[in-house]
C-alpha cells in the first residue's frame, strides 16, 4: 500500500515513515509544497498524509489539486493549526480525516488503517486477525465463531491494537484514542491498564490464540 507523506518537519516525517514501514506500507516523503505537487502529478497513492503549513504554499491548495485531478487517494490532514475552522474546511474540501498535532504515531496508524478499510473493503466489513473476527457493522467480536461480549471501550481498544499490529502502542496513545479530548484532562493510565486486563481475560477465555504483549507497563503490542 502506497502512502505519500507531505510534512516539512524532517524528524517527524522520518518517524512517521519508520513507524508505518513496519507494516506493509510503502512510504514516500515530500517536504515542500512543490515536491508534493510533483509527486501527486507523477504517481498514485492509496493514502496521502497532508500537513497544511508547508514551505512554498498552503496544504489546503494541494487538497484542492487532488480533488481537481480526481485522484482516488484517501487524504488525512495532519496539522498544527488544529482549530475547528481548519478542521471543517479540510473535511469540506474532501479530506477523509483530520489529525491535530501533536498526535501519537499509533493514532495515525489507526487512522490510515480506517481510511484504507473504508476505501478498499467496501462491502466487506469484517476484519480477521488470527482466530479473532470483528464485524465492523454490528460492532461484534467473535473467536472461532463464538461471540465475545465486549464493552464499547474494549471494542475500540481491540480495533486500535489490531490497526497497529506488530507495533508497540503506548498507554498514552491508547488513552488518547479511547477518550479523545478528555484524555489529556485525566490521569487515564489506570483505566487503560484496566481495559487491557479485561480485554485480555475475555479473549483468552474465549480461546483466542492472539496475545496482547505488555512492554514493561509502557506499551502494548498485538501479536497475531
Amino acid at each position: 500500500m502506497k502512502v505519500l507523506l507531505v510534512e516539512d518537519e524532517v524528524e517527524l516525517s522520518q518517524n512517521i515513515v519508520a513507524y508505518l514501514s513496519t507494516d506493509d506500507y510503502l512510504c514516500e516523503q515530500a517536504f515542500t509544497y512543490d515536491q508534493a505537487m510533483e509527486k501527486i502529478a507523477l504517481y498514485s497513492y492509496d493514502c496521502i498524509l497532508l500537513d497544511l503549513n508547508l514551505p512554498g504554499g498552503d496544504g489546503l491548495r494541494i487538497l484542492d489539486e487532488i480533488k481537481a485531478r480526481d485522484i482516488d487517494s484517501g487524504v488525512i490532514i495532519i496539522s498544527a493549526r488544529g482549530s475547528l475552522d481548519d478542521r471543517i474546511e479540510g473535511l469540506k474540501t474532501g479530506a477523509d480525516d483530520y489529525l491535530a498535532k501533536p498526535f501519537p504515531l499509533p493514532e495515525i496508524g489507526m487512522r490510515i488503517y480506517a481510511v484504507m478499510r473504508r476505501r478498499k473493503f467496501t462491502g466487506n466489513n469484517r476484519i480477521e486477525s488470527g482466530n479473532v473476527e470483528i464485524d465492523l457493522l454490528a460492532k461484534s467480536v467473535a473467536v472461532e465463531g463464538r461471540e465475545v461480549s465486549l464493552t464499547k471501550s474494549e471494542y475500540e481498544l481491540l480495533l486500535f491494537l489490531i490497526g497497529n499490529k506488530k507495533r508497540v502502542v503506548s498507554k498514552n496513545s491508547i488513552a488518547e484514542h479511547l477518550s479523545g479530548d478528555m484524555a489529556d484532562m485525566l490521569d487515564s493510565y489506570n483505566f487503560v491498564y484496566a481495559h487491557i486486563k479485561n480485554l485480555k481475560a475475555k479473549l483468552s477465555k474465549a480461546g483466542s490464540t492472539n496475545n496482547i504483549k505488555t512492554i514493561y507497563g509502557t506499551g502494548y503490542q498485538w501479536e497475531e
Binding site: 518517524n15 498544527a80 501533536p102 508497540v168 498507554k171 478528555m182 490521569d187 483505566f191 512492554i215 507497563g217
Partner: protein, 440 residues
C-alpha cells in the same frame, strides 16, 4: 477600603455648608459692632444738636433763677455748676443712673460750657444707649432670618452648580466603568468644554487604547507561542513512539520512556488549553446557535460517565427534559468536560458525582477533601491549588472564561454533600458575578 465613601456632591456640599455657617456666624459680631457704631454716631449728633439748640435759642434769655426749673423738667439736659476735669466739647460714654430701668446704664454724654449771667456753667446733654443685651437680641432675630435664607439659597445654588460642573466627570466615570479589556473597545467618553475634563477624557482614551493594544499583542503572542510549540511536541512524541518500538528495551529504559510520556502528555494538554484560552480571549468562537443543553450534556456524559466509573466513582444525573441556550457548541462541550473532569480529578476514593440541571442552573457536585476552596482563587489561571499531576490548573479558568464570554453566571459552594460548581445560564448581567480572569 475601610471607610464608607461619600459622593463628591455630598462631600463638597457638606464642606460648603460648614464653611458658609462659619463665615455667616463670624459676621454677627461684625454686624453688632457696626450697628453700635452708627447708633452712637446718631445719638451723638442728637445730643450735640440739643446743646447747640439750647445755646442758640434758650441761653440769651436764660437767668440763673431758671436753672432749677429747667433741670426739673429736663432730665437729660441738665445745667450743672462748672467743675474742672470734665471733657468739655466732646462726647463720652458714661454710666449714669436711669430711673426707668432702676439701675445704672450707659449714656452718651456731651458737656458744653455756657455762661449764664457771667457765671460759667456746664450744659450736660445725654441720651441713654440701647442696652447691649437688647441690641444682641434684635440683631440675632433679624440676622437669623437672613442667615437661614442665605444658607439655604446658597446651598441649593451650589448643589446645582457643582452638579452641572461635574456632569462630564460622571459621564466619563460611567464610560470607563463599563470598560472591559476583553471586549477590546474603548468606551465613548464624550466631549466637554471644560479643559481639564477634556484632557482627562483624551488621556483616558489613550491609556485604554494602549492597554487594549498591549493586551491584544499579549493574547496573540500566547496563541502564536502555543502554535509554535505544537510541532516540536509532535516531534518529541513521535520520537518516543519510535523508541518504544525498539525490540530490546530494558525495564529501566521503559520506565524512563513512560516518564517522558507523562511529561509529554502534560505539556500537550497544557499547550492545548493555553491555545483554547487564547482563542477564547481572541474571540475566535463567535459563532452561536440555539442548542439543547440537556441533549449536549447527555452526549458528553456518554464519555464522561465511564471515565468516572473507571475511577471508581458513582455518578448520578438529574435533568429536566430540555433547556435551550444560545451558545457556542464547542465551548459548551468544553465547559461540561472541564467541570465534570474537575469533579472526577478532585474526588475521593469511592466518591460520588451529582450532575443536575434544574431550571437554568447546571450543577456538578462532587465529594472531595473536606475543606472549602477559596472562590476568589479557583477560577484563576494556575492558582495555588493547582496540582500538576491532576489537571493543569487551567480547567476552571477555561470554564470561567466560557461563562464570561456568554455572560452567564458561575458560583462555587461548599456544603456537607461536597463541592458544587453552579453555572447559571440565565444570569445575563445577573447576580452571580463571574470572577474576571486575572493575568498573572
Amino acid at each position: 477600603m475601610g471607610r464608607i465613601g461619600r459622593t463628591l456632591a455630598v462631600k463638597s456640599l457638606t464642606r460648603f455648608f460648614v464653611a458658609t455657617v462659619i463665615v455667616l456666624a463670624a459676621c454677627l459680631p461684625l454686624m453688632y459692632l457696626l450697628m453700635e457704631r452708627y447708633y452712637k454716631e446718631d445719638l451723638d449728633e442728637l445730643i450735640i444738636f440739643r446743646y447747640d439748640d439750647f445755646v442758640k435759642h434758650k441761653l440769651p434769655a436764660f437767668s440763673t433763677n431758671d436753672i432749677p426749673v429747667w433741670n426739673g423738667y429736663n432730665e437729660d439736659m441738665l445745667i450743672l455748676p462748672y467743675r474742672e476735669g470734665l471733657k468739655i466739647g466732646e462726647v463720652s460714654q458714661e454710666e449714669h443712673y436711669n430711673r426707668a430701668e432702676g439701675h445704672e446704664i450707659y449714656y452718651r454724654v456731651y458737656y458744653g460750657e455756657v455762661l449764664i449771667e457771667g457765671h460759667p456753667y456746664v450744659f450736660m446733654s445725654r441720651i441713654p444707649m440701647i442696652e447691649s443685651k437688647d441690641l444682641w437680641k434684635t440683631l440675632s432675630a433679624q440676622y437669623g432670618v437672613l442667615f437661614i435664607v442665605l444658607l439655604v439659597s446658597l446651598s441649593v445654588l451650589y448643589y446645582y452648580m457643582s452638579k452641572r460642573l461635574w456632569r462630564p466627570f460622571y459621564t466619563t466615570l460611567g464610560a470607563i466603568s463599563r470598560f472591559d479589556l476583553g471586549q477590546g473597545v474603548v468606551p465613548a467618553m464624550g466631549t466637554s468644554d471644560t479643559v481639564e475634563f477634556e484632557r482627562l477624557n483624551r488621556i483616558l482614551e489613550e491609556l485604554l487604547s494602549g492597554n487594549i493594544r498591549v493586551y491584544n499583542d499579549q493574547k496573540k503572542f500566547i496563541e502564536n507561542a502555543s502554535h509554535e510549540l505544537q510541532t516540536p511536541l509532535a516531534v518529541f512524541l513521535s520520537q518516543l513512539d519510535m523508541l518504544l518500538q525498539s525490540p530490546d528495551l530494558t525495564d529501566r529504559q521503559s520506565r524512563t520512556i513512560q516518564t517522558l510520556y507523562s511529561v509529554a502528555s502534560r505539556m500537550t494538554r497544557l499547550n492545548k488549553n493555553l491555545l483554547l484560552l487564547a482563542k477564547i480571549d481572541n474571540s475566535q468562537f463567535r459563532q452561536r446557535e440555539d442548542l439543547d443543553f440537556i441533549q449536549l450534556l447527555n452526549a458528553q456524559l456518554e464519555y464522561l460517565r465511564p471515565m468516572a466509573e473507571d475511577n471508581g466513582l458513582s455518578m448520578t444525573v438529574q435533568t429536566d427534559n430540555s433547556l435551550i441556550i444560545n451558545a457556542n457548541k464547542t465551548l459548551v462541550e468544553s465547559l461540561v468536560n472541564n467541570i465534570v473532569v474537575n469533579a472526577i480529578n478532585h474526588n475521593v476514593q469511592n466518591g460520588a458525582i451529582l450532575v443536575s440541571v434544574c431550571g437554568t442552573r447546571f450543577t456538578v457536585t462532587n465529594t472531595g477533601e473536606g475543606t472549602a476552596l477559596d472562590p476568589e482563587v479557583i477560577f484563576r489561571r494556575f492558582n495555588k491549588f493547582t496540582d500538576g499531576r491532576k489537571g493543569n490548573g487551567l480547567g476552571l479558568s477555561i470554564v470561567a472564561q466560557i461563562v464570561r464570554l456568554h455572560k452567564w453566571g458561575i458560583a462555587y459552594e461548599y456544603t456537607d454533600s461536597g463541592h458544587s460548581f453552579i453555572v447559571n445560564f440565565a444570569a445575563e448581567n445577573g447576580s452571580t458575578s463571574v470572577p474576571s480572569t486575572r493575568h498573572e
